[in-house]
């Protein structure tokens, strides 16, 4: 079903264990305002039509006024690469990035879905080759098509298939007052995975997804810290970025106090927990009550909030 409004887009995230959906008003608002929000448990490995049924039910229960959605891609094979290559024509750049994706996923071009973001930097006098840098994302096209099939079966009109880590990075940039002050390591936590995103002060983002080895992150803070440390090292030494000054955790952060303390100790950096809902307005009392009543579940909304911010 094609929608003709281009500004009323809801965010939907098919997470590890829950489907979450959010609609946000941006126009004429001082801060982004949540108008609809909800989540529903589901089996991520179920058949497409079963997942679509859950999504349809969620949409109905939320009385979501729009069917146009921005969703996140759920794919275990997805890769993200930070690239820095000499400046070339658009056609050559497209070929180079497609080749990079083929190498990373070991799949032919026809079976790949590829997109990239070029970092726009102010021009400066450089010696030697002028370089272009950015982020490449690639995934098997069948995963993208599955996602689109689920959403279409649910009666929705997908216009954007984003990446969870980037949706959360967008959310952080939009809401955090100190986002541009220094390099930040943003960690979005899901029950069985975590997106570690290094956000450079001068612009530039390096995302990396870590999959949990234990049953929960609460049981393995050391593994998460180790991966965060590796990502920080990569950004600092390989990409030659400034050192990260703080680590911000968001999403489904384990509640036990030891977890945070363990991270602080192992990373030797300030670690804070950020709840983006606190930086947003909520339109209806019903949604406000729902979020206040289930703060742990409300944390599942974080990727969907970032997706709902997309307008292009």
């Amino acid at each position: 079903m094609i929608s003709w409004s281009t500004s009323d887009i809801a965010g939907i995230h098919l997470g590890d264990s829950h489907v979450s959906a959010v609609r946000i008003l941006l126009k004429g608002q001082k801060v982004p305002t949540i108008t609809h929000a909800g989540w529903e448990p589901y089996d991520s490995g179920a058949a497409e039509k079963d997942i679509a049924g859950v999504v349809r039910g969620l949409w109905k229960s939320l009385r979501m006024p729009t069917r146009m959605v921005s969703s996140s891609l759920r794919s275990s094979s997805m890769v993200m690469r930070y690239f820095k290559i000499p400046v070339m024509s658009d056609r050559d750049l497209k070929s180079a990035l497609a080749l990079m994706a083929e190498e990373a996923l070991q799949l032919p071009k026809a079976k790949l879905s590829v997109d990239w973001h070029i970092e726009v930097r102010p021009p400066k006098k450089e010696t030697g080759n002028v370089m272009v840098e950015g982020l490449l994302a690639a995934a098997p096209i069948k995963d993208v098509e599955r996602q689109l099939t689920i959403l279409s079966l649910a009666g929705l009109d997908p216009v954007i298939v984003d990446i969870r880590a980037m949706a959360v990075a967008n959310l952080f940039q939009a809401l955090d007052d100190r986002a541009g002050e220094s390099a930040v390591c943003l960690v979005n936590m899901a029950p069985h995975s975590a997106d570690v995103v290094v956000m450079r002060k001068l612009g530039g983002v390096y995302p990396y997804t870590v999959f949990c080895r234990a049953s929960t992150w609460g049981q393995s803070p050391g593994f998460l810290a180790e991966n965060i440390r590796d990502v920080l090292k990569y950004s600092e030494f390989k990409l030659d970025w400034d050192g990260v000054k703080r680590v911000v955790l968001t999403g489904e952060v384990p509640e036990n106090g030891d977890f945070l303390e363990s991270l602080r100790t192992e990373l030797r950096l300030p670690v804070e927990v950020w709840n983006p809902i606190n930086d947003m307005a909520v339109q209806s009392q019903g949604v406000k009550d729902q979020l206040a009543k289930n703060p742990v579940d409300a944390a599942k909304l974080v990727p969907a909030l970032g997706l709902a911010l997309r307008r292009g």
Partner: protein, 200 residues
């Protein structure tokens, strides 16, 4: 904002939708403008046709009126009033139109030959609401005619029309007055009668 879209090839992205919407809106506006233009043109055309039709009718009337003797009073009155007027053949034959308004007409009375003295000019006034026909008779004062001879003849002729009542209001030379028309002196008298079956 990072705007990655892994389904850029599969879905209709927002940019394209916006572009489509702009095209659709532009198309709709163009259609509305076109339809408005056509309606306006047709309206103007119809009005122009109507005006032309009226003008042709007027021209036809003028044509008829400008051909003395060819238009009967019956036809001409119908043109002028839009109503059917039945007059006798006698009266018709006496009247030749040479100018007209909707409710009045200047006439040259063709009475000269049938009258002892000449009558050069006359005017027929038609009152559509009442159905009154009046004729102003102008007798050249230089003709030295006897108004008492002239006017009774006209009155007699007037009274010959069975469709006119005898409500003749002015019929004597005493009611005549001197008028100057186109540099000549005339004696003017008015004859009025109500058309009996005139305006239906």
């Amino acid at each position: 904002m990072y705007q990655l879209n892994m389904a850029r090839e599969q879905v209709l992205p927002l940019e394209k939708r916006k572009r489509w919407i702009r095209w659709v809106l532009a198309y709709l506006i163009a259609v509305v403008v076109l339809i408005s233009a056509v309606v306006y043109h047709l309206t103007v055309h119809v009005v122009a046709l109507s005006a032309r039709s009226d003008r042709l009718a007027q021209e036809e009337l003028l044509f008829l009126k400008n051909r003395p003797g060819t238009a009967t009073m019956d036809d001409s009155l119908k043109k002028i009033t839009g109503r059917k007027v039945e007059l006798t053949a006698e009266l018709n034959s006496l009247v030749q139109f040479n100018d007209a308004g909707v409710k009045s007409a200047n006439v040259v009375l063709g009475l000269a030959e049938s009258l002892p003295v000449g009558v050069d000019l006359g005017r027929v006034a038609l009152d559509g609401a009442v159905g009154t026909l009046s004729i102003d008779v102008y007798v050249p004062s230089s003709a030295k005619m006897d108004g008492n001879k002239t006017l009774p003849s006209i009155i007699a002729l007037w009274e010959k029309s069975p469709l006119l009542t005898n409500q003749i209001s002015q019929m004597t030379s005493e009611n005549s007055e001197r008028v100057n028309l186109e540099g000549q002196d005339f004696l003017s008298s008015r004859f009025s009668g109500v058309l009996e079956k005139g305006f239906k």
